[in-house]
């Protein structure tokens, strides 16, 4: 469809298919068919990860069963950073090429990013009590992660502050790009400053200092969190697309067709 004057130049072809999938209309329909699969995949991986983490993984020789908090804490912390980087890439794309779908992806990710950052902080705090003897310390890792939460909250507040969502998206994109300096600070905080927080255990790929029976559930949980993020983000993006495109013909046609089906 719509390929009647299909370009022969391969570069043009790439750009025309990019343009097609970056069109809110195509993305909307694509997301409707992908979403249920992502939801099932996320549920299955959550199930496996929970059983692996709470039942199969042996307890830690130092921390006992309190270490099992790792299976919700570390994936949340990873997602808090991953979503921010995703938003920063979307922000740059939105500012440079004015691509609507990039704005939409950025806006649809903010609440999830804030939620995972909140979870990383709260589960870390709960874990801190039995391991460090305190729920909170003004330490580099904890403080920079808290700054990340404020960046997300600032972005969300900015989105509600403007009546024009495209202006709001541009202002938010600038905030996100400026806040990117915080990301390497979070990552390297445990190396640059002496910290209560432990150093990396997983990313030393050649000699990871974690037992394989403990590591596998962690990787499964991390994939579950990632799939969950994609599934929820798609739902949020569909809401945004409907709001952005409410006055277009394709939305009117889609709504009419949908009303006839039900």
């Amino acid at each position: 469809m719509g390929n009647s004057r299909g370009p022969k130049n391969p570069t043009k072809l790439v750009f025309s298919s990019l343009h097609k999938y970056a069109s809110p209309r195509h993305f909307y329909h694509l997301s409707l068919s992908i979403s249920p699969w992502l939801a099932w995949l996320a549920s299955a991986m959550f199930g496996l990860g929970i059983v692996g983490g709470l039942v199969i993984a042996p307890s830690d020789y130092q921390q006992g069963d309190s270490f099992r908090i790792i299976y919700v804490h570390v994936p949340s912390a990873w997602m808090s950073l991953f979503i921010y980087v995703t938003m920063a890439a979307a922000a740059a794309t939105a500012l440079v090429w004015k691509i609507k779908l990039a704005e939409i992806a950025m806006r649809a990710s903010a609440m999830l990013g804030a939620s995972f950052t909140f979870l990383a902080l709260v589960t870390g705090s709960i874990w801190g009590k039995p391991t460090w003897g305190t729920y909170w310390a003004w330490d580099a890792r904890l403080t920079s992660e808290l700054v990340l939460l404020f960046l997300y909250i600032g972005f969300i507040a900015l989105q509600t502050a403007y009546s024009d969502r495209r202006v709001a998206a541009r202002a938010g994109a600038v905030l996100i790009l400026i806040g990117t300096v915080n990301i390497p600070i979070i990552h390297y905080s445990v190396e640059w400053w002496s910290s209560l927080h432990q150093g990396p255990t997983i990313s030393k790929l050649d000699t990871p200092s974690i037992h394989i029976d403990m590591l596998i559930p962690l990787l499964v949980m991390a994939s579950a969190f990632m799939t969950y993020y994609l599934a929820v983000m798609l739902t949020r993006m569909r809401c945004e697309i409907l709001a952005y495109e409410r006055n277009t013909n394709w939305v009117r046609e889609f709504i009419t067709a949908r009303a006839h089906h039900s």
């Binding site: 069963d65 919700v72 709260v122 709960i126 929820v232 739902t235 809401c239 709504i255 949908r258």
Partner: protein
């Protein structure tokens, strides 16, 4: 089973961390789903109004 729930004495910490995570994850499913349903319903209503307004 009670051994499992006891979590080697760390029950409070482990279950509160998992409980809060579960609540936040479920909340993040419910809110966008309702928003999507509401957006679709509102657009449908607007379309019907426009139709009846025309004729």
């Amino acid at each position: 089973m009670s051994d499992f729930l006891h979590m080697g004495g760390y029950a409070f910490y482990v279950w509160s961390a998992y409980g809060i995570t579960l609540m936040v994850l479920i909340g993040n499913i419910i809110v966008p789903r309702q928003a999507e349903r509401a957006a679709l319903a509102e657009l449908e209503l607007r379309l019907q109004r426009a139709k009846t307004g025309d004729t």
